[in-house]
């Protein structure tokens, strides 16, 4: 039996003259936790629409559990999937409990998991969904997605619009599902959020995949930020002898911020030979790396 849960082969999606997704290929194996990252309009939601059968690919094949996904047949795999999205619509006339009951009749329910989710999220079950705040609605959406213990969890920017506390609760729940063995495919435009949950990240830009890499590799390649302050003369001397492994991120007459992507030991030896008033070294934030990637047009594969 194949280990592949998601498989996209040469998939494109066009809307008239506009191509939302261009010739993308990737697979997700059973138990993998994969982030799908890109700025707005990158093609993330279109790809998820193809995975769930909302839309059909203009070219290529989309497979879930080796079943070809077409709008007419996609429902056959849906019992194995839990789906939630940040901008999801709800049946607003129903209460949370009625909505979850309706979904339970469609997907089935694991009573233990449902009780755990209720306990963790404390949802407002007896209020009409139209009267709930966005965060409370999303709690209901997440419970609906997870209460049947799905094998594959597909999330489309699930934390958008949530406060930081709620974001953390959501991410913790998704991590727990991943630890229980579920395959997770999660889109986001925040790399640090994805890195906190996923082991692998697929980057999209303008409908193309620009990178598909492990989070551990991203963290290694992110490098360090070195902040140095000193006199005008000291900074001038420093900038005059910068080694290849270092880029200047910004500088003033009395301070400079450097990016180190190469061997930090070499850079430290170079710094030891220089004079300055103060120095601090820190890890680069993943979101800075995200900006690098999307600002660099040459990275498009």
């Amino acid at each position: 039996m194949s280990n592949r849960v998601i498989h996209l082969s040469n998939v494109s999606k066009r809307y008239g003259d506009f191509t939302a997704v261009k010739d993308i290929n990737f697979s997700v194996k059973r138990g993998e936790v994969v982030g799908f990252v890109g700025p707005n309009g990158a093609g993330k939601t279109t790809t998820i629409s193809l995975l769930l059968g909302f839309q059909s690919a203009t070219k290529g094949t989309v497979r879930l559990y080796e079943e070809p996904i077409l709008p007419s047949t996609a429902h056959r795999t849906h019992r194995r999937i839990g789906y939630a999205a940040g901008d999801m619509a709800f049946f607003d006339n129903l209460t949370g409990e009625q909505y979850l009951e309706f979904m339970a009749h469609r997907f089935g329910i694991n009573i233990e998991i449902r009780a755990r989710l209720d306990n963790r999220l404390s949802p407002q079950l007896h209020t009409r969904l139209k009267q709930l705040s966005r965060g409370n609605k999303q709690k209901i959406g997440l419970i609906a997605a997870l209460q049947h213990d799905p094998e594959l969890i597909i999330l489309d920017e699930p934390t958008s619009g949530l406060d930081p506390l709620m974001q953390e609760t959501f991410l913790t729940l998704i991590r727990e599902e991943a630890e229980r063995g579920a395959t997770v495919f999660m889109s986001s435009h925040i790399l640090s959020e994805v890195a906190a949950v996923c082991s692998r990240v697929i980057f999209m830009k303008k409908g193309r995949i620009v990178s598909d890499t492990l989070v551990s590799e991203i963290e290694q390649s992110a490098g360090k930020l070195i902040r140095i302050s000193g006199s005008e003369h000291e900074i001038k001397l420093l900038l005059a002898t910068i080694p290849d492994a270092v880029d200047i991120e910004s500088s003033t007459e009395t301070s400079v911020i450097l990016q180190c992507r190469g061997d930090i030991h070499l850079v430290l030896r170079w710094l030891a030979s220089k004079r300055f008033a103060d120095i601090s070294i820190e890890d680069r934030q993943l979101d800075d790396l995200f900006l690098d990637l999307y600002q660099d047009e040459e990275h498009v594969s």
Partner: protein, 263 residues
């Protein structure tokens, strides 16, 4: 909320009750006008003085003189079908395009229900609502008759209501089918309005305007023959045609909806 059908009926409960109250109430009100028309001596004089074309629009003297004729011509010939067509168009638009635009269709299609089932369960909910509204017309007619001290023949009212129900299902199914097949609001509303108001205008004016007569069969109301029902039977050809329209519309809609992209 075991099924999408029940959920849709629950969602639309106030819509259904509201329209049932409005159409049932209008039916009752019109029924209470019967003695005013049937007992006036001036009706013969008025009838003799108006042109034939006008009589075709509002009914001749005989249609005001007996309860069965009054029910057939003054309630079920134009007024009730027109109100039901308007309600059917609003309902069809809401259950097709309305739900898609709100993103609810996406939620339904994330479940293990097939697209065909989603389409047909919501259609069934629409049909039940149309049945409920027609039930209100039966109740309105019977109570109205009792109020004015008359007896409405139950078999006649039932036959008229059954035909009105079938007609409502057609008026609902066509825009619903266009909505689910195309996902296009403009197209759905245009076709729905064309059928509803086009039929009304064509049928009413064709009775008076000679050159419109050859086109009258294009009106949906042409196939809603109350005269035959008042005489004691159904026009089988009309019934078969209406059933065919519903069947074809829904089969085409199913075929398109199973394959198209959801917005």
């Amino acid at each position: 909320m075991r099924t999408l059908l029940l959920k849709t009926l629950y969602d639309k409960r106030w819509f259904a009750l509201g329209w049932a109250a409005i159409i049932g109430g209008i039916t009752l009100l019109v029924m209470t006008f019967y003695p005013t028309f049937s007992e006036t001596n001036a009706l013969s004089q008025i009838s003799a003085s108006v042109p034939e074309q006008f009589k075709r629009l509002v009914g001749d003297e005989a249609s005001f003189r007996s309860v069965p004729s009054f029910i057939g011509t003054q309630l079920y010939e134009i007024r009730i079908p027109l109100l039901i067509m308007i309600m059917a168009l609003v309902l069809a638009q809401s259950l097709s395009i309305g739900e898609e635009e709100k993103g609810l269709l996406r939620i339904m299609t994330t479940t293990p229900m097939s697209r065909s089932r989603i389409l047909w369960e919501r259609w069934c909910a629409g049909v039940i609502i149309i049945g409920l509204v027609n039930l209100a017309t039966i109740i309105g007619t019977l109570i109205g008759a009792v109020i004015v001290g008359e007896t409405a023949p139950l078999d006649l009212v039932l036959r008229l209501a059954v035909m009105s129900c079938l007609f409502g299902i057609v008026a609902f199914s066509i825009p619903y089918a266009v909505g689910v097949a195309s996902g296009h609001r403009g197209l759905t509303m245009s076709i729905g309005l064309l059928i509803t108001f086009g039929s009304f205008l064509l049928t009413t004016f064709a009775a008076a305007v000679e050159w419109l007569k050859p086109t009258e069969h294009l009106s949906l109301l042409h196939y809603y023959d109350t005269k035959t029902i008042v005489d004691g039977s159904f026009n089988t050809g009309d019934v078969m045609l209406l059933i065919t329209i519903v069947t074809v519309s829904m089969l085409v809609a199913t075929s398109f909806f199973r394959q198209r992209d959801i917005n």
